[in-house]
Subunit: 181 residues, 2 copies
């Protein structure tokens, strides 16, 4: 994986793709699947919403760090399977088909099979009880430039997923946001 | 437009499409383009993130109601144009090519050209100053079943947008969420 500019990392989250979130407590790393997330700022600041029934919830609250990975369409079945089992009962990385590598700024692992990884620290846990929300700040971003299928995918929450289709360039209309075009 | 089951409305937001948000203050209706949003609960509860520079920000804080509309790929240029001008200086509905109709539970208008509209009340404004975040609850949902192109689109934040591609049915893997499949 190669360095990806942190200032462009918001562009990875804004389309709302399905993400993987990794955590680590003691020696145990875990991953969960997540599609409830939004940008809060461009730096990037990202809000993620977990259920307090998720095994990652308490780990994230306690350790205050995670990695957000953006998987591609090729590994969609693995990603959906990760969202349908619990780290409480198994070692997902051992049982499912994912390669991890060490992160630079945080203890949770990067997912080498993903298009991008963003190492994150938890800025704010005060919304965890009320909304299951954690406010994250990206510290370091990585790209796996060797993956040829660059399509991400989106969840409808009912077992149906939509793969990315074609891109449309409308930079000519982005008159209000010259800094991003 | 026909009734759309409110309990299925979360499925419209979870994929992270670009939305339109309408507000109304006094006699003036307005619309803005929005892609910073996430589900918080299935009922649906939705968090939207606005800039305090957005004309809609104070209107939403004051009036505490809005409509979230999900536009299709055919009107992408209109939607992007709405995100690149301000209701402070113009009547967007008069100058841009959008048809509105009256909502049932709230004063802001529905957008008849959109695939779906969800009438929302603001549950929580306490995060508006810190994160620009408003927590919304959907009250009533509508579908325009006559629109044939059902593709939504996603923003990368840099003038590039991705249209929906093909759908993948992975209900067989959704063992943890039997209530939704």
């Amino acid at each position: 994986m190669i360095d990806y500019p942190l200032k462009k990392a918001f562009e990875l989250f804004e389309p709302g793709p399905v993400l993987l979130l990794t955590t680590k407590q003691g020696e145990k790393s875990n991953a969960m699947t997540l599609s409830w997330h939004t940008l809060i700022d461009f730096t990037p600041i990202i809000a993620v919403v977990l259920s307090d029934g998720d095994y990652s919830f308490n780990t994230l609250r306690k350790t205050r760090e995670c990695v957000l990975a953006i998987p591609n369409a090729e590994i969609i079945e693995t990603v959906v399977s990760i969202g349908n089992c619990s780290g409480k009962e198994m070692d997902k990385f051992a049982e499912l088909n994912l390669t991890t590598t060490e992160a630079e700024c945080v203890k949770p692992p990067l997912i080498a099979d993903a298009l991008y990884n963003v190492e994150c620290t938890v800025l704010d846990v005060s919304l965890a009880n009320r909304y299951g929300m954690f406010v994250l700040e990206g510290l370091r971003a990585w790209e796996n430039e060797k993956i040829t299928d660059r399509r991400t995918f989106h969840a409808h929450g009912n077992g149906i997923f939509t793969l990315d289709g074609k891109d449309i360039n409308l930079k000519r209309l982005m008159t209000k946001w010259p800094q991003f075009i």
